[in-house]
């Protein structure tokens, strides 16, 4: 029998259709791997019974030659997506015991297309973090280690459960979300492919909100083809999300392998930041050479507002979060303090007990920047800069088709290494936040390894709704880079 965990999602899909393997077999194989990988702490909730039921239903369809695009394929779901009848935590204590009676649009789409739900993946609390260390359910451990070193490393964040689970082959693929880099940075740190689609491409309905104008769901996958298949199954217009765009979803898989000859690739000089490891610099240069060799035209571009992206992000995102998280008050669902005398102490103690430090920090920042007397200086100004960042990209994309940058400023770092300094942690998103601020599609593709054997990714950014060109470029990099090592299963 085929070893399920050796297959990519696309290979498994084809094997299921060819009846080389059943969905129940694949599901059981993954459930066993999940069980064995407990030290990685990737799953908050494993839905074994549900998974087997869904797999059985898929097998019945497959037996009749029916079924959707990913019929029978077992998936991991970031615990930010509400799943009907399955506890949804957003990695936070404040949602303790919360079980939605509804299914997010993204997961509905996946199940309609035949996906099987293995469970809910660990993440930074409310998707606020770059190392998965802010989760109430404990940090996730990266399956990757430095060569000859047992020190546990971060899988990135906030979608660290998703990146680690895909890297450790605990699911065929996973959903993730990206508000400032939460798909692309963890992908870069785990040798996986992460795609943040254009804002509006994927419905936000049923996804626990962090920063509404920046949040976008996307896939975390083993390779570019898998990401293409996943995105197609996740995306689409949703009348329940006013910011979702009514445009047809292309067949992203169909463009893979198409020539990128003649594409203009922008290389922004402002992404060459101080203190960037030489290996990342070299990888970027290597990426540029690969594109050149593939017949692309390299265009040096300038995005001078890049240096304002992180400051703008750390005003806009906390501002929206401070308002989005007001609903977690202990009144309706989730955690409620036992220690209260009146409504005010109920609020205060519930929120004090329910939120972790990073979430509290961002609520404080957000509340501050929206306060009377500070709004104009912070929020309003940040929005103006954000608009100019968008304009700057629009201008750049009048000259180039894709922009190539590193995905993250470093390889996976040690757990606990950056927790003491929030600003150091925030710098993880330096290459990715711009894409969120401008609403652009962006992706991280495995491209190489550092001296310690840790994976490094390259990022491609594309015009809004031009994921197809992005996928072409991603596939080209993947083919030439051949960075398809897998981590040794030290945990099993």
């Amino acid at each position: 029998m085929t070893k399920v965990s050796d297959l990519t999602l696309a290979q498994l899909r084809d094997a299921l259709k060819a009846k080389d393997v059943t969905s129940v077999e694949a599901t059981d194989a993954y459930l066993a791997r999940i069980e064995a990988a407990k030290p990685l702490n990737t799953f908050i909730t494993v839905t074994a019974d549900k998974a087997r039921q869904m797999a059985k239903a898929s097998d019945e369809k497959l037996a009749k030659g029916e079924g959707g695009a990913i019929e029978g394929v077992p998936l991991g779901i970031k615990d930010l997506f509400c799943t009907e009848g399955v506890q949804t935590t957003a990695g936070s204590h404040i949602l303790g015991g919360f079980t939605p009676r509804y299914e997010s649009t993204v997961t509905s789409n996946l199940w309609r297309n035949g996906g099987v739900c293995l469970g809910k993946l660990n993440m930074d609390e409310f998707a606020m973090g770059s190392s998965n260390e802010t989760s109430f359910y404990g940090n996730v451990v990266n399956p990757w280690r430095r060569e000859g070193d047992d020190a546990p490393l971060t899988p990135g964040g906030s979608s660290g459960g998703s990146s680690a689970a895909v890297a450790a082959r605990l699911c065929a693929a996973a959903t993730a979300t990206d508000t400032g880099g939460s798909i692309r940075q963890p992908a870069s740190l785990t040798n996986t492919v992460g795609v943040k689609p254009t804002y509006g491409r994927v419905s936000r309905w049923g996804v626990v909100a962090f920063a509404s104008s920046l949040d976008q769901a996307g896939p975390m996958a083993q390779d570019v083809r898998d990401a293409a298949v996943m995105l197609k199954s996740m995306a689409g217009h949703d009348p329940k999300d006013s910011t979702s765009i009514d445009r047809p979803v292309p067949d992203y898989e169909a463009v893979l392998g198409q020539s990128i000859k003649g594409l203009k690739i922008g290389v922004p000089k402002e992404y060459r930041i101080d203190g960037m490891p030489e290996e990342i610099e070299k990888l970027w240069a290597q990426g540029i050479d690969w594109m050149k060799d593939a017949g692309c035209e390299i265009v040096d571009i300038s995005l001078p507002l890049t240096k304002y992206a992180l400051p703008v992000y750390y005003i806009v995102a906390p501002a929206e979060a401070s308002s989005n998280l007001a609903r977690y008050d202990g009144v309706k669902y989730g955690h409620r303090t036992k220690d209260f005398d009146d409504i005010l102490s109920l609020y205060e103690n519930t929120r004090a007990e329910g939120f972790g430090d990073e979430v509290k920090r961002r609520i404080l920042i957000g509340t501050y920047v929206l306060s009377a007397g500070y709004y104009d200086a912070y929020y309003l100004r940040a929005q103006k800069v954000r608009k100019r960042i968008f304009d700057e990209f629009t201008e750049a994309f009048s000259k180039v088709d894709l922009i190539l940058t590193p995905s993250a400023p470093s390889a996976a770092f040690g757990l606990g290494e950056k927790t003491a300094d929030p600003v150091q942690m925030y710098l993880n998103d330096v290459f990715t936040v711009t894409g969120n601020l401008a609403g652009l599609p962006g992706a991280s593709v495995p491209a190489g390894y550092d001296a310690n054997g840790l994976p490094l990714g390259l990022q491609l950014l594309a015009r809004p709704f031009d994921e197809e060109t992005m996928f072409k470029g991603m596939y080209a990099i993947e083919q030439v880079a051949g960075a398809n090592r897998r981590p040794a299963a030290w945990w099993a």
């Binding site: 997506f81 509400c82 949804t88 957003a90 949602l95 919360f98 939605p100 009676r101 509804y102 997010s104 936000r204 309905w205 049923g206 996804v207 626990v208 909100a209 920063a211 509404s212 104008s213 009348p239 329940k240 999300d241 006013s242 910011t243 501002a319 929206e320 401070s322 308002s323 998280l325 007001a326 609903r327 008050d329 009144v331 309706k332 669902y333 409504i343 609020y347 509340t367 929206l370 306060s371 009377a372 709004y375 929020y379």
Partner: protein
């Protein structure tokens, strides 16, 4: 301007009161502003609550286009500018009946801008009141604190229901004007069908802003637009009847003058009206005022309206009270007051027009409708929709007066018979059946006159000296004829026979 009637006398001099109203009018819609839940009144606790209204994680608002249309309709009815680009903001504060922790409202960019309406006062005077803006927002739920000793209950049925907040300019200068404006606003939204105006169910309520200033300062404010000429205002929240609006203004004006004359200062604060005492009291002082941290709601796109759609809505508007009032004045020669009373309510106006169509006499019809009919309805506690006298009946009755079939007096009797339910059907048939037809046969009247003159020689003597006493004879003749004698004919015959000039 010499507007002495607006002056309030204090112990240290004269004061003026300045009033602005923020009226919350619930949009008459099947579902809520941002969710599909029913907006109907009267459901059991928490029966009309969607996932969005309960602010479940990951839920998103989607604008209800029908509510937007009603806001535009109302804006047009207020002769106001429709903003083709507007936006929703979040107003952040914590309260258990506000599940999201913020209210979605329109702060900087409302859907409707400035407008102006005519407001009729009791004395027949008409004033203009400016509209500052109208915006759409969500209502909150309802907290109930008296069902249990320690717990509070929350009913989210209202949570998310669409409200239009209509903000006036500080153009009202007395309790009467404030009440008249509120009345007029209610009339307009009811005409438009955009709000049912039902104050008991909370469909319409006013936040009443009152300030006082020294006599003359209001004019300076009007000239310069500088608010420094006006006093500090207080805002009395959630006043839900026209009578209470009047009371709040009277009470606040008096209270503020007393405070100021005693050397005190008015705090810019939010107050509550106690319907039992008729007084207002502090609810929240300025220091406790929330910082609402307004910012554009990132879950919603800006509201962009096609001007062609606005024109479509404009073309579908009914004739509004002001237009109707002016038409009644022009076409039927009614006074501004009568015309506005009739036009204030759509059903009354329609009734009046049906009466006119039947009798072709606007003035008589107006007198009958505003006098006899409204009086009878008032007495019976009935609305125009429940009238015991149909417009067709009243129209025919007036026609019978006009063609002299009956006198005005008999008409009132017939009207009363119908009101009391003793008669029904066509007034002409009632008159026929009861033998109430006016006697214009001079022979018959002469016969009665002769009899009365013969029987009352003393009065005949008297009338020669004092011609005015002829009225006694008129009465006697009318009585003898059972009121059916044509009064004009009676007069003429009596004059001739008594030799009165």
């Amino acid at each position: 301007m010499s507007e002495t009637r607006k002056l309030l006398r204090g112990s240290t001099g004269d004061w003026e009161v300045v009033i602005g109203l923020e009226v919350h009018a619930q949009v008459t819609s099947k579902s809520k502003l941002f969710s599909g839940a029913s907006a109907e009144y009267g459901a059991g606790p928490n029966e009309n609550v969607s996932l969005v209204d309960a602010a479940m994680p990951g839920m998103l608002p989607v604008i209800n286009e029908y509510c937007v249309e009603q806001a535009v309709r109302t804006g047009l009815g207020l002769n106001a500018r429709i903003n083709l680009w507007s936006r929703f903001d979040r107003k952040n504060y914590f309260y258990p009946d506000l599940p999201q922790g913020y209210q979605i409202s329109q702060y900087k960019d409302p859907i409707v801008g400035e407008g102006e309406i005519e407001v009729e006062l009791d004395g027949g005077e008409t004033i203009m009141v400016g509209i500052e803006r109208l915006h759409l927002e969500q209502d909150a739920g309802k907290s109930i604190h008296d069902l249990a000793p320690k717990e509070s209950y929350v009913d989210l049925n209202r949570s998310g229901v669409a409200l239009m907040e209509i903000v006036s300019k500080p153009d009202m200068r007395s309790a009467e004007e404030g009440a008249a404006y509120f009345t007029k606003l209610r009339s307009i939204v009811r005409y438009l069908g955009t709000c049912d105006g039902n104050m008991e169910e909370g469909s319409m309520r006013a936040d009443v802003n009152v300030s006082v200033c020294r006599a003359g300062n209001y004019d300076k404010f009007r000239e310069t637009g500088d608010f420094k000429y006006l006093g500090t205002r207080t805002e009395t929240k959630n006043v839900n009847s026209i009578r209470y609006v009047r009371q709040v203004i009277d009470y606040e004006a008096r209270r503020q003058i007393e405070v100021l004359e005693a050397g005190g200062e008015i705090d810019q604060e939010t107050r509550l009206f106690d319907v039992k005492t008729g007084e207002t009291r502090t609810m929240r002082s300025k220091e406790d005022a929330h910082d609402y941290r307004y910012f554009p709601d990132p879950d919603l796109l800006p509201l962009e309206i096609d001007p062609a759609w606005v024109e479509e809505i404009r073309a579908s508007l009914p004739e509004l009270p002001d237009a109707k009032k002016h038409r009644f004045m022009d076409d039927y020669g009614l006074s501004a007051y009568d015309a506005s009373v009739l036009a204030a309510d759509k059903a009354s106006a329609a009734y009046f027009e049906e009466v006119v169509a039947k009798c072709d006499d606007g003035k008589l019809a107006s007198n009958w409708v505003t006098g006899d009919l409204f009086g009878a309805l008032n007495k019976a506690g009935k609305t125009i929709e429940e009238t015991p006298v149909s417009a067709a009946q009243l129209g025919e009755l007036i026609s019978l007066i006009k063609d002299k079939t009956i006198s005005g007096k008999i008409a009132k009797d017939v009207f009363a018979l119908i009101v009391e339910g003793e008669e029904s059907g066509a007034p002409g048939d009632i008159v026929e059946r009861r033998g109430l037809k006016q006697v214009t046969d001079t022979g018959a009247i002469e016969k009665v006159v002769d009899e009365i003159i013969a029987a009352n020689p003393k009065q005949v003597e008297q009338v020669k000296e004092k011609p005015k006493t002829m009225g006694w004879f008129v009465g006697q003749v009318m009585k003898a004829s059972g009121g059916k004698a044509n009064p004009q004919a009676v007069n003429e015959i009596l004059k001739k026979k008594l030799g009165v000039e």
